[in-house]
Every structure is written in C-alpha cells, then in structure tokens.
Symmetry: C3
Subunit: 145 residues, 3 copies
C-alpha cells in the first residue's frame, strides 16, 4: 500500500490481495484518523461479499469471479477506540452487469485507488441504533473514552 | 439531520424518513451555499423515483421496496434565489441488482451519509437550455439578482 | 467546457459531444495537473465503451444508446510527460438497468458535471506492471524526466 497526504486529504493505493477493511483500518489507526469519508474508490475486487439490509440482517451475495470496482463510498468512525468503517460498493462482472450493496468483506485484485477526506479535529461515532439493529453514524458523539 | 463543517467541506447525516431534496435544499439555504458538489452519499432509500432522459422527458422508475444507496453525486446551484439540486444515484435491491438514474424524488431509509464540498465565493446557476429542454449547470453565470 | 477552481479543487462542466478523455487530458495539461483524482461525475454519455479486465485484456461493451452517467471516478497521473487518465464509470439506460466498468472511450451527451481534486506538489505515475499486463497507479514515482 502507498499513501500520500495533502492536509486532510489522502490518496491511497491498495495492492493485490489486500483485505479492504483491514487495510483501511490499519491506515486509520496509523494516521490517527477518527473522522473520515471514503470519498471515491476504483480498481478491482478479487473477492467480495455484498449485502442488502432486509430489515433483519444483511442478505449476502458472494462474488464468484473478480469484478471491476466502479464505486466505493463510506465513512470512517471510531467504536470502542478502534476504526469503524462503513462502505458501499458497486462492482461489474464479465458481462458488465452491475451489482452493489453494503460491503461485508472484500479483497483487492490488482490494485485499488482510494481517495479519503478526513475531519482532523473530530471523532465520528457509530453507536448501535437498537430500534433498527444496526450501528449508525453519529457525527457529534459525546466525549470518547 | 446532523451536519459538521471543516472549511468548505461538510459531512451530513440524514435520518429515516427525510426527503432528500427538501433536506439538502434546506441545508443549502441555511448555510448560504450557492455553489456546491454532492460528492458522495450512501445509506438506504426507503422510496425513490429514478429517471432516464429519453430526449423528451425523464422516463421514471419507482422503487417498489427500500434499496441500498450505493452512489449519490450531483451539484448545488441557485435558480431564482433558491437552491437547485441535481442528483444522480445508484441503488441496489434485495437481489443486489443495481438500478440508477437521475433522482426525481427520494426518501431516506434508516440514514444517509452525504459528503458535500462547496465553492465559497461562487454561485453556480442552472439556466434552461431551450434546445435540450433541460436546465444545465452554469459554473460562471452572470450577476444574480 | 467551463472550469472553476478553488485551491486544489476544480469543478468542470463538459459539453455535448466532447470526448471525455481528450477533454480531461487537455484540462490536465493546461492546468499543469500531474497528480489528481476524478472524484465524482454525472451527466449523460452519448457514446461509451466500457471494459472488464478478464486477466488478458479488456472485454469491451459498447453502449448502443445514450446512457445517464451516474458515477465517474478515477485518477490523473503522468506517463511520458503526458496526462494518463484512468476512469471507471456506471451508466444507466432506458430501463434504468446499470452497466459499469473501465472506461475505454466516452463522449459526453448534453453535459457532464465533473469534480476533480489535485495534489499540487506531486506527480503520480502509471508504470507498466509487467506481471499483470496493465499500467498501475504509482503515488510516489521517482524523479520524472
């Protein structure tokens, strides 16, 4: 992985075989990012599982072959002192058909070009929304432990 | 809705049931945003109508069930002194299939995480392009009333 | 084409009939952009060819009719002193179905609203990755000729 910074903005290049969540979480930890936006991302995914929230759980779809990563967007928050990363993606397969959803897991194929913006003096939270059964982004959580 | 600002950059969290256009328009009005970009957005849409411009009109498709919001991009301009918001979106349904288009109307489900960049000393316009029959973004309109 | 700048950020409006790559390359050359991100783009594409990397080559799909441009993301680097632009896109057709992929060529229909961020004191490279057979983004190449 390569990373370059200009103020609150980062460009990342992920490499073949890297786990998307683990790599972004390590980046957030290493750079002390506590509030961020995964603004844009392209490349390929060698493997991925995409989810659709059916009101009770994420209904999963596992990609059978590598797909072009055509859109990647999300947020970086902190839960229990560790990075909490929420990502949605669109990917396209051999026939160029597009499937999309909440990213449950993903592994980079060839490379990923990912652009991140941060909010330097903030911490985003992601508390459990009990009525929904999901954690939801909180831009202004109270003081963190 | 929550909003946090860092200079010309904003992160917004929209909430269950909020109308996407009305909420973004109120935000633009309250924050005196006259030139902006809806750079990225994810979450869910409880309801939405997506359009395809067939050369004469937007051919609409109304979503029958909530969909994951996987991409949201667009621009904020001013028309007749009020915010004019142009949005395109991709959404995915229970089978992870993806439909997309010009957003005609949309209501947030659960939440929306939306990232906006603004051009502080500018006003974007959206004058009617009579030859096409659509309003089109003008980055450097003349003096506004 | 219109372009407005605020520091390292640019909003572009491309016009009917403009070639997407030629127009972005001319913009990068004219503005001496050697490291950039095509963060977001919407509008329509009158024509386009999208590719899926099958491990040996880009399997192409040519659009038969104009499509809504719903997502456009990528990077601007320099190869042999000239702009090297890598773009992925999602587009939707008359039935709102979505196809996506690596953009092999594209022509704007009606307009394109494209948002670009640059890294002012950097040069991104895109050297050939011989083991893959593709050029890959290099955020920190050595000194350029």
């Amino acid at each position: 992985m390569q990373r370059v910074r200009d103020g609150a903005r980062w460009m990342l290049r992920l490499d073949e075989g890297q786990d998307l969540f683990a790599t972004l979480a390590a980046f957030a930890t290493e750079e002390s990012i506590r509030a961020g936006v995964v603004v844009s991302g392209i490349g390929m995914l060698r493997r991925a599982t995409l989810g659709y929230w059916n009101g009770r759980e994420y209904s999963p779809m596992e990609l059978k072959v590598p797909h072009e990563l055509v859109a990647l967007h999300g947020s970086i928050a902190v839960v229990d002192g560790a990075p909490s990363i929420h990502l949605h993606a669109s990917v396209s397969g051999p026939e160029h058909q597009t499937v999309s959803g909440h990213v449950m897991q993903a592994t980079i194929g060839i490379l990923g070009e990912i652009y991140v913006e941060t909010f330097p003096n903030r911490t985003f939270g992601r508390p459990m929304n009990e009525s929904v059964g999901l954690r939801g982004l909180d831009l202004e959580p109270g003081p963190q432990p």
